[in-house]
């Protein structure tokens, strides 16, 4: 019996060690940082996440930051992550590695941008030139304020609120910027979409912060403040190569195909093959782990698709073949026509035209329309939103706010190849009393836009169909 206990103790220890190692890894990364990254860090990363995140941050400061500031004619960018919301939904908390602070980026003329954390804490102080600045830049989180007040009784202000941006005025004056971008919103709206929660986006500071920053800067520099909304959006929508790698490797990690090799029609259930749903021979959808797979079923799901041949069939029926051929054509059209440069809206128009030219019906709505002029044509709906940064823009879609469409496609833009297809199957329609029964499909793979167009950074899960005898 002792041996049993030893064996059990061994395995318990093994699992405990594995568990605590995983916990340690998670705690190294800032709490809930994945919120800002659209779930990209939820996978089991094959490498040191903290190191990779720091590296990406540095690459972005090096490659993206100067470009964005110069293209927007901004020589100082002040971004305030308000401490009392502890980061909340600030979209740049991963980019800057912090959930609280005042970040000041100044273009001082050479190749790089000066990076300063004025108040607050950062995950990676090495990424900044100055953290917390000189001694007069006081952080309200510690005893320095008390010391300061004791040492400077003549400088005590009417309200402690005035200490919030103490020293900012001198710091800015020393750099004498002509245009200062600050994170408040002017035109962009909040809405995101079903696949990400609503973030603060560019709406960072409060009215109080605005007033206090203005006071701290003084009239001369307060007048030079402009909204940073497009700087923020542009900074978020650009990617470095390391982010494409992260995107590709984590997505590949999460998407392993399933095996259809052991399916026995009439015996195997959907639960046995890790779920999914089927469309049966009459075009009706069935799902649930207990459903027993039948001949004539078309099985689809995130981990691959299969068709179970009916008795007498030796190949796929016409509608499955056409559905698959259509799918390949659609993918090719999407891939061929997405380029760096145009806006998402311009690209959507182009894609819709190319789809129509190829014999499809493009539809703005995510549902089958049985009243179109050419019901025999396959209908396609697109919702190709950005992936990897917590914002959906640029978004090639009829959905979402207008600014989603106005954002230009940047180099290494990573996005979801999300589209829905609806193909009429007349015999199903007849069998279902002409209610518009059709074969519909939903695809959600990934793509990156390079200087050559659309490229696939990791294997798609849905580009083959298995035939089950």
């Amino acid at each position: 019996m002792k041996k049993v206990l030893i064996v059990l103790a061994f395995f318990c220890t093994l699992f405990l060690v594995r568990g605590s190692s995983a916990q340690r890894r998670d705690s190294d990364v800032m709490l809930n940082i994945e919120d800002a990254n659209y779930g990209i860090f939820e996978g089991d990363a094959p490498y040191d996440e903290v190191k990779m995140l720091k590296h990406i941050r540095l690459e972005r400061f090096y490659l993206i930051l100067p470009r964005v500031m110069r293209e927007h004619n901004i020589d100082m960018w002040i971004h305030v992550i308000r401490p009392w919301s502890w980061g909340g939904t600030d979209p740049l908390r991963y980019e800057f590695g912090s959930k609280s602070g005042v970040f000041i980026f100044t273009d001082r003329g050479d190749d790089r941008i000066e990076r300063v954390v004025f108040q607050g804490r950062v995950q990676d102080p090495g990424a900044y030139d100055i953290v917390r600045g000189r001694s007069e830049f006081i952080n309200q989180e510690n005893y320095e304020i008390m010391d300061y007040v004791k040492e400077n009784p003549d400088k005590v202000l009417e309200s402690e609120l005035h200490l919030r941006f103490l020293g900012l005025g001198d710091f800015v004056a020393e750099r004498d910027p002509k245009r200062i971008a600050v994170n408040y919103m002017e035109t962009l709206s909040f809405p995101e979409g079903s696949e990400t929660f609503t973030m603060a986006l560019t709406d960072g500071i409060s009215y109080t912060d605005y007033v206090q920053i203005s006071k701290a800067l003084g009239d001369k520099y307060a007048k030079r403040m402009v909204s940073a909304e497009h700087v923020i959006l542009d900074y978020l929508s650009r990617r470095v190569a390391a982010e494409v790698v992260l995107y590709g490797s984590l997505r590949a990690q999460g998407g392993r195909s399933r095996s259809f090799g052991n399916i026995v029609p009439g015996v195997t259930t959907l639960g046995d093959i890790r779920g999914g749903s089927v469309v049966n021979k009459d075009g009706n959808e069935r799902s649930g782990d207990n459903y027993v797979i039948q001949r004539g079923d078309f099985i689809s799901g995130w981990q691959g698709s299969a068709y179970v041949l009916r008795k007498g069939e030796t190949d796929l029926p016409w509608y499955i073949k056409k559905f698959w051929d259509d799918d390949k054509k659609i993918r090719e059209i999407l891939r061929r026509n997405i380029k760096v440069g145009p806006t998402a809206g311009e690209t959507l128009k182009l894609l819709a035209r190319k789809l129509e030219e190829a014999g499809f019906v493009y539809t703005d709505y995510q549902e089958y329309n049985k009243y179109v002029d050419h019901p025999e044509k396959t209908q396609v709906h697109l919702d190709m939103h950005a992936e990897g940064k917590g914002i959906l823009a640029p978004r090639f879609s009829s959905m979402g706010p207008k600014w989603h469409w106005n954002v230009k496609i940047q180099l290494f833009h990573t996005f979801a190849v999300e589209y829905m297809t609806y193909m009429r199957v007349p015999e199903w329609d007849r069998a279902n009393n002409f209610t518009g029964q059709q074969l519909s499909g939903f695809k959600h793979d990934g793509m990156v836009v390079t200087g050559r167009g659309g490229e696939v950074p990791y294997p798609n899960q849905s580009d083959t169909i298995h035939i089950i005898q």
Partner: protein
């Protein structure tokens, strides 16, 4: 006792099944990646490679051990790739099996004459080389057979196909960059693990896996020998990781603290500073477009402007200015098992013809450079040596690090 056995049996079975399942999943995943890369290279790289080399048909006879077998997706047979206009290249395999997702046409080797005549190509690349490259793969027997099948008219249009092969392999698709990085990160883990094993005064270089080396202040090198690592040694370790036809190797550096030392000594800190300064020079000056030779010339000039001495050999030059730190460069391609030698290279090393190859967009290569820093207080000619070896990719913006490059010299206590 039966219960013990049952429990153990169940646990063993559980681990066995999990292991087998995990292996098969890994293998599927690897194959999916390789298939994706192949598909994308045919779609994106192949048309450009053929058009840049002014070739409208590329005939490649693949036999059992051909280095491009996996890249072309053909085990044995004649691969005929034809530019018939339009965006893509027509792909046929005659007399063999090929990846069905890639090839449009399958036929017999006997079909070759008619197949070629019907397409009437002006320039036909065949897998041989006049440069002495590694892509001189066709056998004499196969070459004779192909030329005979083509007949006089088309045999005259045959040219060496090695440049097409070079461009096909050195042009990278995004999924290759992803794989390149994943392998680099695997190397990094392995290197850390090997350096963990070092026990000063006990561990010999040969006890560690990889290419492990130490140089003394006169530049004499111990490389994977039975030399026992001593306190005060600055150790370099290169290690590789592979997946099918992909290969990557990177380097790590460790310093073994002397008794009483708690941090890296000043001279080691200083050589690391030189490593970072020179890395920045390289990064700022390498772009897609120029040849390896042009880039090397530019880098030499920039190094010298920054106060360094460039050296062609990885040996300390005793005739150079004794105050100046010397730098050697060998930025060779990385990512694939084949084509290390036959690819764009920013280096004095390797075949001459490769120095005139242009650096393509998304070229994956290594920042391999060696710093020889004089330490005058040790005596004339005495110096310290490090070798850096990281993976980089050239994008529209210049050099990018797809993963974090070496960020420190590790101190071993």
């Amino acid at each position: 006792m039966n219960k013990v056995r049952c429990l153990l049996t169940v646990l063993c079975m559980l681990f066995l099944v999990q292991g087998v399942y995990a292996q098969s999943q890994e293998s599927d995943a690897a194959e999916n990646v390789i298939n994706l890369i192949r598909m994308d290279k045919f779609e994106i790289i192949l048309p450009q490679a053929m058009r840049d080399n002014n070739v409208d048909m590329w005939i490649y006879v693949v036999r059992e051990d051909d280095p491009l077998r996996i890249d072309l997706g053909v085990d044995d047979g004649i691969c005929v790739l034809t530019d018939r206009g339009g965006r893509r290249i027509e792909r046929a395999v005659l007399g063999g099996k090929g990846d069905k997702n890639v090839y449009d046409i399958f036929g017999s080797e006997r079909d070759l004459p008619e197949f070629v005549t019907e397409r009437d190509p002006k320039r036909i690349a065949l897998n041989y080389s006049e440069q002495g490259s590694g892509f001189n793969t066709i056998t004499q027997k196969d070459r004779d057979k192909v030329l005979k099948a083509l007949g006089d008219k088309y045999a005259k249009r045959v040219v060496p196909g090695d440049f097409v092969a070079v461009d096909f392999l050195s042009g990278k698709v995004m999924s290759e960059v992803v794989l390149f990085t994943k392998l680099g990160l695997e190397c990094e883990k392995i290197i850390e693990g090997e350096l963990d094993k070092i026990v000063p005064g006990e561990t010999a270089l040969k006890d560690l896996s990889g290419n492990v080396f130490v140089r003394d202040p006169d530049g004499n090198e111990e490389n994977n020998t039975d030399y026992v690592i001593q306190r005060g040694d600055l150790i370099g370790l290169l290690h590789s990781a592979e997946l099918m036809n992909f290969n990557m190797h990177i380097g790590g550096i460790a310093y073994v603290l002397r008794d009483g030392e708690t941090d890296l000594p000043l001279e080691v800190k200083k050589i690391w500073e030189h490593a970072l300064i020179t890395r920045e020079i390289f990064r700022k000056n390498i772009k897609a477009g120029p040849t390896g030779r042009e880039t090397l010339e530019l880098l030499i000039r920039k190094l010298e402007e920054a106060g360094y001495v460039y050296i062609d050999d990885d040996e300390y030059d005793r005739n150079a200015d004794p105050e100046k730190t010397q730098v050697h460069i060998d930025f060779h391609t990385m990512g694939r098992s084949v084509s290390y030698e036959d690819a764009p290279r920013i280096s004095p090393l390797g075949p001459e013809w490769t120095h005139d190859l242009k650096i393509p967009l998304y070229h994956t290569f290594t920042f391999e450079y060696m710093i020889h820093m004089p330490v005058p207080e040790w005596g004339r000619g005495k110096h310290l040596y490090v070798c850096l070896h990281d993976g980089v990719v050239v994008t529209e913006r210049g050099v990018e690090f797809p993963y974090s490059p070496l960020d420190k010299i590790r101190a071993i206590r």
